[in-house]
């Protein structure tokens, strides 16, 4: 039996009904970004692997397909995340812009390993990034854009979950943890795995031991920030982090269902500050994520404050309402070429005009009208 129709694991075609949804959602999102002042960039699908993945980012490294370039003799990677590419553009190609730069993008990325059980290995990443402003207003702008983008395509019952990775980093540094122990702690905290956490921090000095043990319990509504103040030591990173989270709470209260999670660190290796994710009922994963990643551009020659968000449109499209295709106008093949000028006029006016070779039904052609001769000219009449 023929098997060459089979696609690799976690790779799928997008068929017409879904493709319509994807394209219209993508166009609406990019239009929303454009009107908010975000300029579209189209970074390449493939570039040098060491540009795509910064040193030490083993998670992104494992996700990145690599191949040898016969042209340069160097190793190339298929992009697994567009954000570092956009950071490269801001840091290097647009280095003459010293103020705020807003960029957006929509394109396929490729994952060597799927992010989840049902995830595609070819997500369609759509996102927006803001460079050059360290204030919390930039984070609020990006959060606002993320929420409005999701609402724009019909996702309304949203919950915004906010965390702050600098609080964890500050605690780990103050407790004098090595990089291996920090990485292990990071993984355990993301799972709120309290049993393993107790064992791991058994030898950590106070007050940091109690602080790490408190982190998995510090989630929930804004009142959690007050509890955090009493349970975490007053390090500068902790103070600043809690202050920023409180500012987020003040600004967004009443606009969106809001929750906080100080052990929610699941962003990317490059994140440095506030992190946020949007959830909706019926979804076992976040629909969109983002956060602050200051100074990522340093390795491309310019360190800049940065914040942004992205989503996988392929994933998101599963909850979008179906869109029926627009109905067209049938023209029997025998009427061409006499009708050619009229057909062109209709098409230029935006109508779908389908040439019918086989005398097919209205349903098969998806047409509700047809073009027929009328005296000297042509007219459109109902067809069913």
């Amino acid at each position: 039996m023929m098997r060459n129709w089979l696609l690799p694991e976690h790779i799928a075609d997008i068929l017409p009904a879904t493709a319509r949804q994807v394209e219209s959602a993508k166009a609406a999102m990019l239009e929303r970004f454009r009107t908010a002042g975000y300029e579209l960039v189209l970074p390449p699908l493939i570039e040098y692997a060491d540009s795509l993945v910064s040193e030490g980012d083993s998670a992104l490294d494992l996700k990145t397909f690599k191949l040898d370039d016969p042209f340069s003799g160097r190793q190339l990677g298929l992009r697994a995340d567009i954000t570092p590419q956009v950071a490269r553009i801001d840091a290097h190609l647009l280095a003459h812009r010293t103020g705020v730069t807003r960029l957006c993008y929509a394109g396929s990325v490729v994952h060597a390993r799927p992010a989840g059980l049902l995830s595609s290995r070819e997500p369609l990443q759509v996102g927006a990034e803001l460079y050059g402003y360290a204030g919390i207003e930039a984070d609020l702008e990006i959060i606002g854009l993320m929420l409005s983008t999701l609402r724009l395509v019909g996702v309304n019952a949203l919950r915004l979950d906010v965390g702050h990775i600098a609080i964890f980093r500050g605690l780990a540094a103050a407790a004098g943890l090595g990089s291996a122990q920090t990485a292990e702690l990071f993984a355990i905290l993301q799972a709120k795995d309290v049993g393993s956490l107790r064992l791991l921090v058994a030898d950590v000095a106070e007050p940091y031991r109690s602080a790490f043990l408190a982190l998995p319990e510090l989630y929930g509504p804004a009142s959690v920030l007050e509890r955090a103040r009493t349970r975490l030591p007053s390090l500068p990173e902790v103070e600043l982090g809690l202050m920023q989270l409180a500012a987020i709470a003040r600004h967004l209260e009443g606009q969106v269902e809001l929750s906080f999670d100080l052990a929610e660190l699941r962003g990317d290796y490059y994140h440095t500050g506030l992190m946020f994710a949007a959830y909706a009922p019926g979804w076992s994963e976040a629909l969109a994520r983002g956060g602050r990643y200051d100074n990522v551009g340093r390795r491309f020659g310019r360190a800049r404050p940065a914040t942004g968000f992205s989503l996988d449109l392929r994933d998101l499209v599963r909850i979008l309402p179906e869109r029926d295709p627009a109905r067209g106008i049938r023209v029997a093949a025998r009427h061409l070429p006499g009708a050619a000028a009229e057909v062109q006029r209709l098409r230029e006016a935006g109508e779908i005009v389908v040439i019918d070779y086989l005398a097919e039904s209205a349903g098969a052609l998806n047409c509700d009208r047809e073009l027929v001769p009328a005296g000297e000219g042509w007219q459109v009449i109902p067809f069913n």
Partner: protein, 213 residues
């Protein structure tokens, strides 16, 4: 908001009943006698789904259940992706051990540096354990009756759960190494904890207050 809790039959179910009771949840039926896979409770919005122990993390990860109770053994094999494990419930306790046939010189076999044949239902735990010891092993994945493998020459050693040691003794095997203490954990779907915080948090706190010492 509805709450779905994934449980397995047998010891985990029995030992979970007092925890459920602390949260004010009473199952409407006993899964041991009922053939139903979805069991209602006294609370209209809470239901239990009865699945195989090793499937509990999968149900919770996909969001087919909001909460679940799974052994640490099962969670390590699953990998824990997409799950929170906020509570060690201290129930269904046992130990993950290496066992060999009585008379087999395990220490010598390990020292010798040759590859050891290990039969187990827990390949990930076994591989990690022997890698940490610096021993090469060939893992033979079995689905049950592990104790048989050394007796018929299929394996040199087994890695398995031991609670009383009765099955080992009955088959002339001895435990030679302790790998991990196992107990059951409460697992929570990550999105569910955020979206159903108001429903899940009280259950979590009730469970925490009722955890046996």
């Amino acid at each position: 908001m509805t709450l779905t809790i994934a449980l397995s039959k047998g010891r985990i179910f029995e030992e979970t009943l007092p925890l459920l009771a602390a949260a004010g949840i009473t199952p409407a039926e006993n899964p041991e006698s009922s053939r139903k896979l979805i069991i209602d409770t006294n609370l209209p919005d809470v239901r239990l789904v009865i699945v195989r122990a090793s499937d509990v993390p999968t149900y919770v990860q996909y969001g087919a259940a909001d909460l679940g109770i799974a052994g640490r053994d099962v969670l390590i094999e699953h990998g824990g992706a997409g799950l929170y494990q906020p509570l060690d419930l201290n129930i269904a306790k046992c130990r993950m051990m290496v066992a060999v046939e009585n008379g087999f010189d395990y220490e010598a076999a390990v020292k010798q540096g040759a590859r050891l044949k290990v039969a187990t239902k827990y390949p990930r735990i076994a591989r990690e354990h022997f890698a940490a010891k610096g021993v090469h092993v060939d893992i033979i994945k079995l689905y049950g009756s592990m104790e048989l493998a050394p007796l018929v020459g299929l394996a040199d050693a087994i890695v398995d759960l031991v609670s009383t040691g009765g099955t080992l003794r009955a088959n002339n095997l001895v435990a030679v190494e302790h790998i991990l203490d196992i107990s059951s954990r409460l697992v929570v779907n990550q999105a569910a904890l955020k979206l159903k915080y108001a429903t899940i948090q009280p259950v979590l706190e009730a469970f925490a207050s009722a955890v046996p010492a």
